[in-house]
């Protein structure tokens, strides 16, 4: 059992378990699965600055902050205690493309060190990948009213056409970055 837990989990184990989070949160407390709202609650709690969008009773949504605190703890347990491979077993084609286009050489860990080591903030790469990327995640999810969990998992599960529009947008943005902007950045 422990051996199984320590392996990377295949999609047909992880996907259904993620799907079960939707009814679990509903049955336990009438909560809709969603993560990006936590960013708004943190802003409302720490730097409301009199903005109307950040003036609401965030304390009533505290469960969401406990949930993301749990996710952080889960990241620790899943990676540090339940073991992890040195290399994420991505396809050979992806390795080849990332070598050729993004000039990556180090494929160990969860993220490429050449782009995500803190020292990369001394170069444009760090500012683009970490700072601009993070900013777009925070800005875009709130503007769209949800992220991969709120729209893709929760919204699509509840047959929300709005969420389908959002998910098409997510993919359009990701494809645009990967296929058109990356080649320009690393020309």
């Amino acid at each position: 059992m422990l051996d199984f837990l320590r392996q990377p989990w295949p999609w047909y184990v992880a996907g259904p378990l993620i799907g079960l989070m939707v009814p679990a949160l509903l049955l336990v407390g009438n909560k809709a699965l969603g993560i990006s709202s936590s960013l708004r609650h943190i802003c409302a709690a720490c730097v409301p600055a009199g903005l109307p969008f950040l003036r609401y009773n965030w304390r009533a949504e505290r469960w969401n902050l406990w949930f993301v605190a749990g996710i952080t703890l889960g990241g620790f347990v899943g990676y540090r205690l339940l073991g992890h491979p040195d290399h994420v077993a991505i396809s050979a084609a992806t390795v080849r493309d990332l070598r050729a286009q993004l000039h990556l050489t180090d494929f160990s860990g969860l993220l490429p060190r050449e782009l995500f080591a803190l020292g990369s903030l001394a170069h444009w790469q760090g500012w683009v990948f970490l700072v601009l990327g993070g900013f777009l995640v925070g800005f875009g999810t709130r503007y769209a009213g949800g992220c991969t969990s709120g729209h893709a998992i929760s919204g699509l599960s509840n047959l929300q056409w709005v969420s389908l529009v959002a998910v098409v947008g997510f993919f359009a943005g990701g494809l645009l970055m990967t296929w058109f902007i990356f080649p320009l950045l690393f020309r």
Binding site: L5, A69, I71, F129, T141, Y143, S157, N158, L176, T178
Partner: protein
């Protein structure tokens, strides 16, 4: 401790996200390059299970453990759904993380995730400030 159950569910969620490697930048690149089925399998089967569960809850009129009626709000449309969606997609490909995985990466000990999280908070704050001037 009525919030403890959310901490427990969040921890389980974080473990699943981590063990299925969906918090890896490499996996997200592989997805956007259509070079493996993994991410599509994870998201697709999650939606399938979520969909069946919600149908069961609705048809059987299931209640929460404290006996409340289960309420699911409809998502509201605005032009922001697709504009914001595309902006988030650009950020998703850059950081290799959506909001959930940022927290899981942080817990797994990736220092860069703290920078990404701060930037994401700045983005959320900037949206809150500009909201009235956006389409």
């Amino acid at each position: 401790m009525k919030n403890l159950k959310y901490l427990v569910l969040g921890t389980l969620f974080g473990i699943i996200l981590t063990k299925s490697e969906v918090i890896s930048w490499f996996r997200i690149q592989e997805m956007f390059r259509f070079q493996a089925f993994h991410m599509y399998g994870v998201i697709g089967s999650a939606v399938a299970v979520g969909l069946v569960s919600i149908q069961l809850i609705k048809r059987r009129h299931l209640k929460t453990i404290s006996g409340e009626e289960i309420h699911l709000a409809d998502k509201q449309f605005s032009p922001g759904v697709w504009i914001g969606g595309v902006l988030f997609g650009l950020g998703w490909a850059l950081t290799g993380a959506c909001p959930g995985p940022i927290f899981a990466q942080l817990g797994s000990g990736v220092p860069a995730a703290a920078v990404v999280l701060l930037a994401a908070l700045a983005g959320t704050w900037a949206y809150s400030a500009l909201r009235e001037r956006l389409p």
